[in-house]
């Protein structure tokens, strides 16, 4: 059984339909990429999954539970973390406080310390700057902090929204290496990206979104060689 199952969701902003009935699934241990251009509905899809928006039709099933109507703040405790778009850190709190906020839904203090140690291991730079207000970090560091904070809830599935947005190519490489590591450590990854080339290079499978519909899907390596994709998203 799939870990996450999206069944025919339709999402509206007022009278405008952003998602026109899409279905897909994420299996345990996979890295899944949702790619597409601006306004294709990638972020909307992700926000529907994490409970920030509710769909008009369709359902989201996570580990066998229907979470369509469950508010976002409760879904975190069920094992799904969300790294929102645009490096949203708590700018006036320190890096350490930010990370601790990530474990907000957890109670056991020693376990939280253990997770903190593993997060510091993946992001050594966060440990160096743990007492610094998060607002003073660079863009790349803030993205790392947002990812580290999501990992603090020890999720089974981590949903990332445009982790490469606004970062230099070197940092983008670094972020994607970390995503691969997160996946190797046993966390399932659902990735929304505009940078199709990078996303396809690390994903197992991918879905291509266009104006609220899935137009293509399949093995990431195969999609990379697809003529249509090459032309539209990879600029080759």
């Amino acid at each position: 059984m799939a870990m996450l199952e999206i069944e025919n969701i339709e999402v509206f902003y007022g009278v405008i339909q952003a998602i026109k009935g899409i279905s897909f699934q994420v299996n345990e241990g996979e890295v899944i990429a949702l790619i597409g251009a601006n306004g294709a509905g990638k972020t909307t899809t992700l926000q529907t999954i994490t409970g920030m928006i509710s769909p008009k039709k369709g359902s989201v099933i996570f580990n066998g539970t229907d979470i369509t109507k469950i508010p976002g703040h409760k879904i975190v405790g069920m094992g799904m973390a969300h790294v929102p778009e645009g490096r949203r850190v708590f700018s006036q709190l320190s890096v350490l406080e930010n990370l601790k906020m990530g474990a907000y839904t957890r109670k056991d203090k020693t376990e939280i310390e253990e997770t903190l140690a593993t997060v510091y291991k993946s992001f050594p730079r966060l440990e160096e700057r743990k007492n610094q207000p998060a607002g003073t970090l660079s863009g790349g560091e803030q993205q790392m902090l947002a990812m580290g904070r999501a990992l603090m809830s020890r999720p089974k599935l981590i949903c990332m929204d445009e982790p490469s947005m606004g970062l230099s190519p070197i940092l983008v490489d670094e972020i994607f290496n970390i995503i691969t590591e997160i996946s190797k450590a046993g966390t399932t990854v659902l990735l929304v990206e505009q940078n199709a080339k990078k996303a396809l290079s690390i994903a197992d499978r991918a879905y291509v979104l266009e104006t609220g519909n899935i137009v293509l899907s399949g093995d990431a390596k195969e999609l990379m060689n697809n003529e249509q994709i090459k032309k539209a998203y990879l600029g080759e």
């Binding site: 976002g72 850190v89 708590f90 709190l93 907000y104 603090m152």
Partner: protein
């Protein structure tokens, strides 16, 4: 650990300042060195400090600008004064009566804060400020047309006029529309005011340093991120706003029991007052409760101290406001203050 201690020390410095100020004022009172004008200002000082602390919780920690806190003060004042006037003969112990009145006033302000927050907190920024401003005005205006009295047949309530109440000969008016409530027992004092300020400071300090406080601050910093880590944004926003309104309500209780005639004028419960309280909060430092108390005291005393200068006093008041703002928040001034602090610490260690 070190940081925690530092925070704790800071909190105690605040309490110490309040206690020292209290002792100094009491000493001045005992030795008869305080003018009657100044004596009359003591309770209002506490009132404004208390309200500023309450608003600072909303502005500094929740990060929402409320311009309706005078309205919550108004609710606290009228509900508690109503109780005290009615129960004046039934409960003769003024302290017991005041404590019950305080609980009633605070609870009513909290209740209204909660009810108003439900629709208002769906907004943010300027929109929220505008709507709270409107709510504050609505509360004040409703109180102004409220007529409540009782006679042998029971309670009468009207919102049109005194005649519409149809009170019998033996009836007593409690709230008389624009003329407000008269005959409130004079139950509040400077001592009670200081105690209330300390209680409010303890509450807000404990709140802001708790798990709940961190949740509220994370909402201020970034609402979407707060939701993404599993914080119930609505719940904590409501909670912080309600507590903030309750503290403003307790300030209203203090205010009401210092006056024999309580009326809801634009001067005391209108938006001008809300803005005044906001000025205290901004000048004292957003998120800095000690600063709120100090700014409220200085800015309330200033116009009175400058009274001798008659026409020029508002001019000087404005200049002092600007000067304080510059001194408080200019980067150079902050650096200078830090240097000064470090110097003090050094000499302290040597000694």
């Amino acid at each position: 650990m070190f940081k925690k201690n530092l925070k704790k020390n800071n909190v105690f410095v605040t309490y110490a300042i309040v206690v020292v100020a209290y002792i100094v004022v009491e000493a001045l009172l005992l030795t008869g060195n305080m003018s009657s004008l100044m004596q009359g200002l003591l309770v209002p000082l506490c009132t404004y400090s208390l309200c500023a602390v309450g608003l600072n919780l909303c502005v500094g920690y929740l990060g929402e600008l409320s311009l309706g806190h005078a309205g919550f003060m108004c609710i606290g004042a009228f509900s508690s004064a109503f109780f005290s006037v009615v129960m004046q003969d039934a409960i003769t112990n003024s302290i017991v009566r005041f404590i019950i009145a305080l609980i009633i006033g605070t609870a009513f302000a909290a209740l209204f804060g909660f009810l108003i927050a439900i629709p208002v907190l769906r907004l943010n920024g300027d929109y929220l400020a505008i709507v709270t401003l409107a709510f504050g005005e609505i509360i004040k205006n409703v109180v102004n047309v409220l007529y409540i009295g009782y006679d042998s047949t029971g309670w009468h309530i009207s919102i049109s006029s005194q005649q519409a109440l149809g009170l019998a000969e033996d009836g007593t008016m409690v709230i008389n529309g624009a003329q407000g409530i008269t005959g409130t027992p004079h139950d509040s004092s400077f001592t009670i005011g200081v105690i209330l300020i300390i209680i409010a400071l303890i509450i807000v300090h404990n709140l802001t340093n708790s798990r709940t406080g961190r949740a509220v601050m994370s909402i201020r910093d970034n609402q979407i991120a707060a939701e993404s880590v599993g914080i119930n944004v609505k719940k904590y926003k409501l909670l912080a706003f309600t507590i903030s309104a309750a503290i403003a309500g307790s300030a209203g209780v203090l205010y009401a029991h210092n006056l024999s005639t309580l009326t809801a004028l634009p001067k005391n419960f209108g938006y001008n007052m809300s803005i005044m309280i906001l000025v205290f909060v901004v000048l004292g430092g957003i998120g800095n409760f000690r600063g709120s108390v100090i700014a409220a005291c200085i800015l309330t005393l200033l116009p009175e101290l400058l009274r001798g200068l008659s026409d020029y006093r508002m001019l000087i008041y404005a200049i002092v406001l600007i000067a304080m703002m510059l001194f408080n928040w200019a980067p150079a001034a902050i650096v200078w203050r830090q240097k000064l602090k470090a110097k003090f610490k050094k000499t302290g260690e040597e000694a």
